[in-house]
Symmetry: C2
Subunit: 365 residues, 2 copies
Amino acid sequence: MKLPQLVQTQFLSVQDVASIIHKIGLKTVFTRMAEYIREDYLRWHDFEKCARVANHSKDGVIELMPISDAKSYAFKYVNGHPKNTINGLPCVMAFGVLADVATGIPEFLSELTLSTALRTAAMSAVAAQELARPDSKTMALIGNGAQSEFQALAFHYLLGIEEIRLFDTDPKATEKLIANLKSTALRLTVCSSIAEAVRGADIVTTVTADKTNAAILTAGHIEPGMHINGVGGDCPGKTELHADVLHRSEVFVEYEPQTRIEGDLQHLPADFEVTELWQVLARQAPGRRDADQITLFDSVGFALQDYSALRFMRDAARELGLGQVVSLIPELVNPKDLFVLIHPETQETTEPSPRPNFCAILAAV
Amino acid sequence: MKLPQLVQTQFLSVQDVASIIHKIGLKTVFTRMAEYIREDYLRWHDFEKCARVANHSKDGVIELMPISDAKSYAFKYVNGHPKNTINGLPCVMAFGVLADVATGIPEFLSELTLSTALRTAAMSAVAAQELARPDSKTMALIGNGAQSEFQALAFHYLLGIEEIRLFDTDPKATEKLIANLKSTALRLTVCSSIAEAVRGADIVTTVTADKTNAAILTAGHIEPGMHINGVGGDCPGKTELHADVLHRSEVFVEYEPQTRIEGDLQHLPADFEVTELWQVLARQAPGRRDADQITLFDSVGFALQDYSALRFMRDAARELGLGQVVSLIPELVNPKDLFVLIHPETQETTEPSPRPNFCAILAAV
């Protein structure tokens, strides 16, 4: 006899995700998450992809990002409220679910604020492994906010970056980054302008938060052989790169239809040529071709990375015995009997219970 | 000084929702939920509405249903897997979130399997209060599965229905319903055919689960003055009513663009006239016009009802002190410092920490 399937949802809190990092180390987290992302990108055509669903308001946006293959369904809830920091709140907060496609059971519910920072940095590193010069040692990091330490360490651990050249319009953000990374082996160099930070860097990461069409990087900043990792230009009206930077670069994207709307690519004509990263990973398109080429990863964050992040967090939590079961979905002995959950309540009526009649009896009358 | 806003998510489990029902009684739950639904339907134009986002697979579908006004954002996750009962699992499982539009904080996370059953029945009753004859006493209930008891009791409590005439192709489902409702004041009559159940009924509720284009009700079943509450025909390829039933009725819907795709309406031409229920509630369109008219509520379930259900559950949980805080979103002292959550990990490196350099120094060399 087949055992009844459990309708259980495992919940992973912010503290649980922090515990995973403490227990196995950030280097291992980045390494494994990058592996999960590569695995999933190599199965690109297995996925039912769609644009994210956004509800816009005066000060921000709330989005749902679903994706599925034949086995699993994932979605992420994520907001974007640039003014939140004024009130001491994060600009971006997220959580998500991994569900079983065969039954619809939401099996795994997880925080995704911290996990998104991890997967965004892991994704940037996966792209850079294909697109940056293999001898890259120095990275400029423009924008030293919530995502910056994750970018710095992902590039340190996965690409061997040794020096990070820092710039932010808010010196306190840079101080915070330095305090957070002071115990790592990274050499941290504070710069007084973008031009100074970028000069001579092998990789340039832009991860600023302003919701404006900015031109943080202009063509004058760019040097032959650079790889640009553009992370902060990720929604309509929020860009970081001057159009000339894109014109001078070979541009790579996660999912072209989405990046045309949300990425720095939004300023360019619809026929501007780009390559989807999965093609490079699958060896269907070249990555970097020579040491002088300028490459650009116009990253906006795609649902597939969250699918990978949820899959990794679920597996890591299982291995480490972290997380807890929450009663999100009822467990029923008889699936047609949902009412049993509130049954005692119906005892409230004190009137005598009439016996059920039968139509047959009535019909005979 | 402004106090920092709390980034807290209140979680309401299946047991918590059952507790709310036990504590205040099902009659009060239906009454208040119907009030919340009416309130929100009267603000119809305040809402940003969109079609649900569905990921289809071989055996089912997983959907996200978002909706928002200027204050709150709600979404529901819900699956539909008709074959699940074979494996002892519910066909429909759901949960949802209510978030603050101004900041994006997901403030309230709740089970919605039980709550959906409640809100679906409350919605049916709200529609019937406008569309059924005021002297209605008898309801046929075709389909005695998971939703059936909720329909029976919502109509008992909110419309004064005294007798329910039952039919299901599975006699065990009917037995279960009778066992569940035996302590209520409802008179339950088991019928051996649909025709028998429907004959003479004031209201006919169809709430069957098969994912087929069925014709459970045909024109021959329909009598003048009936109100038909069509609940089970709710996705493409899953209908319950013969087209002639719709042709003979005045048809009311929740949200026309969605019902044209998902409701029994899917078989009718695009110019077949229907009325959105909010118009009736707002007195912008007539409901029932006379005692002989046949009215039909072609219900598919719309995101606005889930918004209402979440709002009610949040308020009821607050009043009763139910639910618990879960760590879904990190609480940060400095919103630009997400890394602080995993900071101790960076201590793992034993190499001496290099002091940060300054570009200015380098430039001077």
